[in-house]
Amino acid sequence: MRSTSRSPDRPLAGGLRRRLPAPRRLVAVWRASLQLRVVTLTLLASAGVVAVLGVVLVGQVRDGLLAAKTRAALAEASAGLLSARTQLAAADRTDPRALGPLLDRLTRTLANRGGEAGLYEVVLLPGRDTTDVAGGSGRASNDILPASVPPRLRRAVVEGRRQAHTYTRLWYADGRGEPGLVVGAPLTVAGGDYQLYQLFPLRQEAQTLSLVQRTAAFAGAGLVLLLAAVAWIVTRLVVIPVRLAARTAERLAAGGLDQRMLVRGEDDLARLASSFNRMAENLQRQIRQLEELSRVQRRFVSDVSHELRTPLATVRMAADVLHESRASFDPAAARAAELLQAQLDRFEALLVDLLEISRYDAGAASLDAEPVDVRTLAHRAVDVCLPLAERRGSALRLELPPAPCLAEVDPRRVERVLRNLVVNAIDHGEGRDVVVRMACDETAVAVTVRDHGVGLSPDECRRVFDRFWRADPARARSTGGTGLGLAIAREDAHLHGGWLQAWGEPGGGCNFRLTLPRRAGMELVRSPLPLRPPDARRAVTLAPGVRRT
């Protein structure tokens, strides 16, 4: 049975089927159709049973026919032999010249006798050590060939000196052959040994048998076809509802939550339908609940956003006005205005990041993908960070491929990811170089941001994307990052179906790699850039969990 979990590969299988060579196509059809399998197996099994039955039946009929014929033929042969002996006894034994015509007559008479077993032919052959007194090698009635007598029978008659019989094929002078029964017996004529063979044609029996065989074959074939038809109808009765169920399940899986099956009667299929419907009902209710929850959550985030931002906008402007005129304040008030201004920046950044991450939590983040040359995004992200890098004494190096790297991405989000990575690298880079590398192949584009600062242990690499996580709590916050930057960056990467991974070694700096599919919705298989930078100091094997982002 085709399970619903297999259904997604059906279109694929269908597509392949057209291109497959014939035998594999047959295998595919065979695997795909329950009905075909049932009908074929029924056909094969019933054909086997019918064939065995037919062989046994025909064998029985043949044995019966032959037994009756043999009984009659043996009786007839004995009577013929007796008559021949009587005739020979009555004949003149002294005249050798009369012997030839006598034997001729004898052969003819016997052949004309006929009887219960029908007409038969006669062959009279001389014995091995008997010279035929009448000349010739033997006599045969009508146009039967003496060669019809099998040598094996002849030996049995000569050596056994008694009556024997066998089935064989009778041959005639005109080339005709037919099945027959040969009964042979020794006959003494004028002191010489002869064998008298009576050959009974089995024409009638053969005809009867072939009629029986034909009838049996036709009846068998009819029976097999009938069984196949019955199997086809029965499986149809079962398979059609199952196929309907599969189709409904596929539609349900594709998001048609209000898909239901038709419940008819009270049989097993009806039970299947009603439990399927119950399952769909539960599924639908739960999904609705989740959707409602997510909607409420999104609404809440949006409301909080608005409610917080409006007063914050007023505060922000007020602080700005104060800041502008701080020259006319006394020193304490002026410093207070400066602090207010600076901390408002931080507060704002934190609010923005919090709202962004809660948007992700609510599943409300949407991708605005458009084809963009990712190099320009890297350029922009680096440009924005130049002043910060200058303050920290880090040189920013950009290694971009010469050709454009077009990818379907959300430029706002990707630029934000790159900015976050670069700021993070400058922040932990201890004033050393920060290198942004980029590469792309047919399927993916990758950007790595490498710093040569304090680095991370493999364990820290796993936690670096956690919210509000800090590598060293004792270290002072330098740039006043919100602690959410990398968490958001990772969510941004996931939204694209991409990867964001971290590599690091204590004392050897870090390397963050962003890999994005070039076409939206495409599955990533590999990244054009290695996560372990070529200038890594030690061969460090990463814990497997780190690769999975």
Binding site: S302, S366, P371
Partner: protein
């Protein structure tokens, strides 16, 4: 210099603060706190720029924006607390020229308002063609085969920017700088939405634009003038 600004915002503190900042810049703000009263206030004040909060009691900001746009091309700058694509795009599609996300710095807001005011100042007598459309820059008239096409000032500026340098491909960032007056890279959705609005008005078939042409992965450029376009199939 013109400088009447209509502030449509229901938060009294923010409105007052906006008033302080705008007056400090030499602009003349007037205020309305209710969406339902916004259109009447707009007709009474005849502002040069509208600052419009998207969340309002009564008629909401999006509808107010549509109402104003229906009778005037006056520049509208939205104030929004929402940065979600749907909210921003909805606001832009309803006719806003630009938007500022709360909380904003006073300088940023003033820069946006000034950018919207400045545009009308330097008309030069000039006639441009783009596709089969002619632009009379001084007269602020765009027409196809003598039939005028109504555009908002911003859409007009966008079209003129493209038409002045035919065959030049403009990135979205360049357009943001030239048309909107952003000095730093900002939200390119502004450009996308306004190009769509512009196309809806000037293209004969907006599905297959011939006047504002997309250059995949880069930006936009002006379509080929009508005379050239006729020769193109032969080439």
């Amino acid at each position: 210099m013109k400088g009447r600004v209509l502030v449509v915002d229901d938060d009294p503190a923010l409105a007052e603060m906006l008033g302080i900042v705008l007056r400090a810049e030499g602009l003349e703000p007037s205020f309305v706190a209710d969406g339902d009263a916004a259109l009447a206030a707009f007709r009474a004040v005849k502002p040069d720029v509208v600052l419009l909060d998207l969340m309002l009691p009564g008629t909401d900001g999006i509808d107010v924006c549509r109402q104003i746009r229906a009778e005037s091309g006056v520049p509208i700058v939205m104030l929004t607390a929402r940065t979600d694509t749907v909210d921003v795009v909805l606001g832009l599609e309803s006719g806003a020229d630009d938007y500022v996300v709360k909380p904003f710095k006073p300088k940023e807001l003033v820069a946006r308002v000034r950018a919207r005011l400045r545009r009308a100042d330097e008309p030069t007598p000039e006639e441009l063609t783009i596709g089969d459309v002619t632009i009379d820059v001084a007269g602020h008239v765009v027409s196809r085969a003598g039939t005028p096409i109504a555009l908002t000032p911003l859409e007009f500026d966008l079209l003129v920017a493209l038409a002045r340098r035919p065959r030049h491909v403009f990135t979205r960032e360049t357009l943001l700088e030239q048309v909107w007056g952003y000095r730093h890279a900002a939200d390119t959705r502004l450009v996308n939405v306004h190009v769509q609005r512009l196309r809806a008005k000037i293209e004969t078939d907006p599905e297959h634009p011939r006047i504002v042409v997309t250059v995949r992965g880069v930006g936009y450029k002006a379509g080929v003038p009508a005379a050239d376009a006729q020769h193109q199939p032969l080439a």
